[in-house]
Structure formats: C-alpha cells, structure tokens
Amino acid sequence: MRRIYTGLAWTIAGAVVVQAAAIAFAFGGLLNRVAGGDVVDKALLESRSAGGVGEAGFFIHAIVGGAIIPLLAIALLIVSFFVHVRGAKLWAAITFGLVVLQVTLGISIVGVPYLGLLHGANALAVVAVATAAALRVRRSATTAARAGDHDKAEGATSDAVAA
C-alpha cells in the first residue's frame, strides 16, 4: 500500500509537470499561428484548432487536468486510509483539496482571468504537497524497514545467545 501511495503521489507531481509543459506547448503553437498572420477568434477556439501545431497541448492540459489528476488525487486519498503512516491521510487530503481548487480555478479562468495567477501558483503547491506526501510515506517506510532489520538482527543475536 505504501508503494502504491508513494507511486500515486509521485505521479500527481509528475502530471503537474506535464501540465506546465503542455500549456506552454499550446500557447507556443497559438502564438506561432498569430505570428504567421492567422487570427485567433472564438470561431477558431471552438473549432479546437487555435493552438496550431501545439493544439495537442490544450487537449493534454484538459484531459490530464480535468480527469487524470483528479482521479489520481481521489485514488491517493482512498489509498491513504490503508497506509499506516502518520500524516499520510492528512497529506493526501491536502493534495486532494489543492487539486479540487486547481480544477475550479482552471474552469473559472475564462470568466475571471486574474484567477490565472492563482492557477499557476497553486500548480506549484500541488507539486510540493504531492512530493511531501510521497517523501513522508517513503521515509517512514524506509525507517520502518530499518527498524524491522534492527529487530531481526536483535532477534538473531538473542537467538544466538539462547543457543
């Protein structure tokens, strides 16, 4: 379970990196179109071709941000209940909360562009929190494993003594 937890948390952090890359690719394609003399208007946006060569960037950003990361965050939250590490649930809940906020901000950007400032900053917060969650559980797992080795070693010694 710990391995699944850390895997999910690292995947969320990695997916945010994909998000940043995808949206930069998309806007690169869009500006490339404009530089080539094209006009970007509502008709073009709605025909899903405003991004030119970077159009896939908009698609990836929408799918990863609107579906994949939220699903990963839900999975992380569920898995956290089966991971017996202090703080695992808390960090998963914070990650989930920030992801919900991030999706809400993303959907609302068109109406209130200033929310874009928060959307970009909150993305970094998601990376930080997901990374913290992964590190915490991994470290705890490592500590537990070490402790386990120690116990085993001690056991062996006492066995030897007994023998």
């Binding site: 094209d38 006009v39 970007v40 208007d41 509502k42 008709a43 073009l44 946006l45 709605e46 025909s47 071709s49 405003a50 030119g52 609107g66 579906a67 959907i107 609302s108 068109v110 109406g111």
Partner: protein, 509 residues
C-alpha cells in the same frame, strides 16, 4: 496468521468495496440513454417534477404513445401547392478543396462546401430534394432561422429519421419571412456542421426593390446584395468557402447589403472604419437603423446580420467580417486605400438600436412563463463522466420540456450562470428580446433566432406559439448541445414517432 479482529476488518472492507462498486455500477448504468424519445423527456413523460413552469394550463396530450394526437409528420406545407423553387441538394462525405488554403476532409453539398446558395422570393414554396450520396452516419437538412412546418425542420430523431446513404428526403416549406438564413445538417451536427454540410439561403422580399448579386451598371446607385458566409475549416477561416478576402465592385455612392452568416461555433464580429448600418438580425429587419461608427457588431454562432455599407467616392472601404476575413467594397483595384483597422472594443447594443415599433402581440400578459437557467457541474451522461451543462439545475436527459398550446404568448427567462457564452437557438420561431439584466429594450424590436447569452447575463424573451410541433431549443455552440445543453418546446397534443439512438441511428446533436 492474521488475528480474528484483522479478519473481520478485512471482510468489512471487502463488503464495503463490493457494495460501493455495485452501487457505482448501478448508478452508472442508470445514466445510459439507450434508445429514447423526446416524448419521455421533461415533466410530460418522465414525471421529473416541475421545471419552473408557471401559469398556463394543463400539459395536454403529450403521452408518448401519441394516441389521438398530431404526429409531427403531418405538420407540413400545403401538399397540393406546386413548388416555386425546386432544388436538389446532394450531400457527400469527401475531401474539400479550400481555395487559398489546404484541403480538408469534410462534407459537401452538390460537390462544394458551402453548398449552393438558395435564393427565393418571399411567399415562394421551396422544395428541396435532399440526397445522401455518401455521408455514412446519415444526414438531414435543418433550415436555420426559417419557421418551417415541423415535419421539415430536419432534426434527426425528432422530426425525421436521418437520411441514410443512397436515400432521399423531400423538404417543402413556404418562405414566409424575407431574410438571410442558412441550412445545415442536424444529424451528428457538431461534426457535420463543422465539416461543412451547410449553405446559405436568402429570401428576398416580395415586391421589394430589385437587388443584384452582380455589379451595378456604372450609372445610378442600385443596391447590391452579397452574401458573406463565414466558416472555419480545420482551423482555416473562410469567407464563402475561400481563404481570402473578397472584392465587391460597386459604383461610388451605391449601397451594398452584406449578409453575414456565422456558421461557426462561436461569436463573430463585424466592423469597419467606415460608417455602416445593421439592416437586419437573423432575417428580421431593424426598424429605422442608424449609422454606427467605432463600434463592432457581434453575431452569435448560427446568427446572421445584414449590414449596409456605402461605396466611397474614391477607392474602397473595408468591412471586416469575422476576425480574419474582410470584404472590400468600391473600386476593387484600390485595396491600398482601405487598410485593415483594429477591432473596436465597443459593441453595438442591439437592445437600444433603431427605433421602437409596436409588436404584433402583447408579451406583458403571457400565457406561459418559463425559466431557462444554464449552469454547469460534474456528472455522468450516457455513461461518460464530465463537466456537463445543466438546465434549471438538471442534467440531460432530465431537462425541462417547455409545454405550450397553439396561440400561447410565451415568455422565457434565459439566465447564464456558467462561465461560457451560449448562443441559444430556438427552432421554428423567432423571439423578440424584451430585456437584458432588467433593462427594457428601447430600440427597434430585436428579433432573433440565435441569441448570445454571456456569463452572468439574464434575458427576457417572448414569442407566439404559432407553429405547432416539437422544437429544439439549444445552444448553437454545437459541442455544448452534445454535452446536454438542449431542451425542447412541445405543443399540446403533438407527438413524434421518431427516436434517438435507435435503429435509424439518429443522433441530432
């Protein structure tokens, strides 16, 4: 060996997970639409409770079996009247050559996209024989903005079955109102309209002044009349099917009427450095339109605006139609005299444009009053999770059915609580805008069939229920309709034998 307590815990978790998966599967399967009839939608058939209807009488005979009612197929034009205009339109699924651009795969009508422009006179009976030569999903023709009889509305699964490959379907209707309209498929419309299965139809006024699509003779100031159909093909902005601007030769001082048709999925804009007037919106004349300058005119997706420019004494003027294309009017060789101009930030408010005129009905005491509130939330439609549109808080197919009786005066309160603009399009009727955000209309009667409702805006609109049938009332950003932004106006006693998702493969959106 796990302890008994641990075993119990594991069993509890297993039961909880199984129950959750089972319940999830049940909820998921309940969203599957399967084959359905619009007759089952809303409170007329499904018992979905009240949907904001106030006033009015009972719901009439809207039973799904249609016993004793009027079938949509019987709502037709006079079958004995010979046609004044007969056209054959053949739809094909094929590569489209875009002059000035690159070829795209899409749909053609009579070998081109846009298809041929149909021109008729007000009062003519138009008969169109539609042939599907190769559109694999089937196709139909909807006469956008023309108040046709319901049987000829061309909505697959409501007024007809989609026409399969090799079959034909005849549309007959009287062109009662002069104006600028367009036709397009209403089967898998988000794909087929985007792919070019469309064309213009212009109804010239009966006994109106002679207009010509050809250049006027050098003497006199005869009005010219040109069509500017805008469409984006795979990211290429076109004007009348070509990636390029158009020149309209016109004698100095003559007036040119430009019929701008927005066939795209989003709002488009018209502006010019020269003064111009808006003569009509959605095929209905503006009463005493005044010249405008430093303002743009916005046309909703599916909407039309007829604008009039005067050819200058020397050189040409540039009318920007859509963000990317323009029309040069005047001396065709003098392009340099009309450089592009930036789009004005100020928008012409059609709520206060032109001079007031009495309406031919009284909307102050409506027989029916409906709410149409658009919002958005996460949910599942037809097994697919997504962030879907809602109407009055409900998600498709659990959306309201707007029941009306013939001759009712209907008022609808449109409100957009979502973050995106929605060009709302009611089939078979024209609506007059009464107010926006509580500000009462003060100009010419603003008559539309496609109305942009921006985020946070609320419109009161009214119409007379004078065209019996079952009529779609949907967003014309067509992917929004796919995502559930579609409701219907249903007349008492009218029923349809057609179904959606059945054997005929009808998928209207």
């Amino acid at each position: 060996m796990p302890s008994r307590r641990e075993l119990l815990r594991r069993a509890a978790v297993a039961i909880a997970v199984t129950t959750a998966i089972g319940a999830g599967a049940l909820v998921w399967s309940s969203t599957l639409l399967g084959e359905y009839s619009v007759m089952e939608m809303g409170d007329g058939g499904g018992g979905h409770g009240s949907h904001g209807m106030t006033g009015g009488g009972g719901h009439g005979a809207s039973a799904a079996d249609g016993a004793g009612g009027v079938g949509v197929t019987s709502l037709i034009a006079d079958p004995d009247r010979p046609a004044d205009v007969s056209v054959e339109l053949v739809a094909r699924q094929q590569r489209i050559d875009i002059p000035g651009g690159s070829a795209v795969s899409g749909y053609t009508v009579n070998g081109t996209s846009p298809g041929p422009e149909i021109r008729a006179r007000q009062g003519d009976l138009i008969e169109v024989e539609f042939v599907n030569a190769s559109v694999t999903n089937g196709a139909t023709l909807h006469w956008h903005g023309i108040d046709v009889p319901n049987a000829d509305d061309g909505v697959a699964g409501i007024t007809q079955d989609a026409v399969p490959v090799g079959a034909r379907h005849v549309y007959r209707f009287v062109a009662t109102d002069a104006g600028t309209y367009w036709y397009h498929s209403h089967q898998v419309s988000h794909e087929q309209v985007e792919g070019g299965l469309l064309g213009a139809i212009v109804i010239e006024p009966a006994g109106g002044p002679a207009v010509s699509a050809e250049p006027a003779p050098p003497t006199g100031a005869t009005t010219r009349d040109v069509t500017a159909l805008l469409h984006v093909y795979d990211g290429q902005h076109t004007l009348n099917g070509r990636v390029g601007d158009e020149h309209v030769a016109a004698t100095p001082g003559s007036m040119v009427r430009v019929r701008v048709i927005n066939t795209d999925q989003g709002t488009t804009s018209v502006w010019s450095a020269a003064r111009f007037r808006v003569l009509a919106t959605d095929g209905h004349e503006v009463n005493r339109p005044t010249p405008i300058e430093d303002q743009r005119v916005l046309i909703p997706a599916g909407g039309r605006a007829d604008v009039e420019v005067r050819a200058p004494e020397r050189g040409a003027i540039r009318l920007h139609v859509g963000g990317a294309r323009s029309i040069l009017v005047g001396d065709a060789s003098a392009e340099a005299s009309a450089p592009p101009t930036p789009q004005p930030s100020q928008t012409l408010d059609l709520l206060a444009y032109g001079a007031p005129a009495p309406l031919d009905f009284d909307p102050t005491a409506p027989d029916r009053s409906f709410e149409y509130v658009i919002a958005r939330r996460f949910g599942v439609i037809d097994g697919w999770p997504g962030n879907f549109w809602t109407i009055n808080g409900r998600m498709f197919p659990d959306v309201p059915m707007f029941h009306v009786a013939e001759r009712d005066v209907v008022v609808m309160h449109l409100r957009n609580d979502s973050g995106d603009v929605h060009p709302m399009h009611l089939h078979g009727h024209h609506v007059v805008v009464l107010s926006r955000d509580g500000i009462v209309a003060s100009g010419s009667p603003w008559v539309v069939d496609s109305l942009d409702v921006h985020p946070g805006e609320a419109y009161d609109i009214a119409f007379v229920a004078d065209n019996p049938g079952i009529w779609s009332d949907h967003c014309h950003t067509l992917p929004h309709a796919v995502d559930g932004l579609v409701a219907h106006v249903m007349y008492e006693g009218v029923w349809t034998p057609f179904t959606i998702n059945g054997e005929a493969g009808n998928r209207p959106e």
